[in-house]
Subunit: 176 residues, 2 copies
């Protein structure tokens, strides 16, 4: 089932997105094209406080054309480990750092056309530790009872894929 | 928190992916750039047979650089409803059509840089009805007991975001 890349045309290299068009050899030896976004990868974190509340961020998302409610997340810096990235993003976005950070797997967001893989974490044992965030990010932070986030997924109020994958995995882990 | 698009540069228009770079006005009236993939949207379907087995497809994914195990899914055709698309994709990919098709919400896969929204469905009451699929898709279909897919998510064998979101929502719906 493998596809072999036989030629690559670099279309665009931007701030977040790099687009290539690959000519590929299919398993039956015919040729086809694959458009592929190169992405450095990212992290997303369910940060749970001692009252079983989750830190969520509201942010305008151009891809959705509206404000979405998401768990804190961000793109890996060059040579940054997913764990370091998770800790940094929490400090930048919600002003807390985790005493405990557990991997809860990860997701390919759209493996047909982007390389992006998001490492998912559960962060607990939170303590205040603010870092300055990106200048072009305008976010609002709120704490929502964990059980309520599950209702918000079911009701369609939370529509962000990484947030749904991560929150539902944590629900299973905690037996909720 | 809204961002206003003030100018758009069309970078590329391909088979699946269309890339624009937007100059935007941020809430503080400064300017920034957003790279955005325009995508027609898609569907993904948890197809459950009468033995509580789920149809899964193995497919080489260039974005992952490997074969992934995913629920059946596909891109919306022009003016096609999500329900029609779900029924068509099931017929093409697994050779069955649903007697019952329930919406289980949807996900923005990466709202920072793509417009793609995936409509998620639960399909039951399946009956055989094969349609020919895309010529450049090489997939292997298998049936996996539903409970096992949950273990495969936990163990990291299933890493596809839409599949994880959809299977975990169905698990909650069925009380599994």
């Amino acid at each position: 089932m493998e596809e072999k890349i036989i030629q690559t045309r670099h279309i665009y290299k931007g701030h977040v997105v790099e687009l290539d068009v690959h000519e590929i050899l299919l398993p039956d030896n015919t040729r086809s094209k694959r458009e592929l976004v190169n992405h450095p990868g990212a992290v997303a974190v369910v940060a749970l406080d001692s009252d079983q509340q989750v830190f969520m961020v509201r942010q305008y998302r151009i891809g959705a054309g509206k404000i979405l409610l998401e768990i804190p997340a961000g793109t890996l810096n060059h040579q940054e480990s997913p764990e370091d990235c998770a800790t940094r993003e929490l400090q930048e976005e919600i002003g807390y750092k985790p005493g405990k950070l557990e991997s809860i797997g990860g997701i390919f967001v759209a493996p047909g056309y982007t390389t992006e893989f998001i490492h998912l974490f559960l962060a607990t044992d939170l303590s205040e530790a603010k870092l300055d965030g990106d200048a072009d990010e305008f976010i609002e932070v709120e704490r929502i009872p964990f059980e309520k986030t599950l209702d918000m997924i079911k009701g369609g109020t939370i529509q962000d894929g990484k947030s749904i994958s991560a929150l539902l995995q944590v629900a299973r882990k905690l037996g909720k």
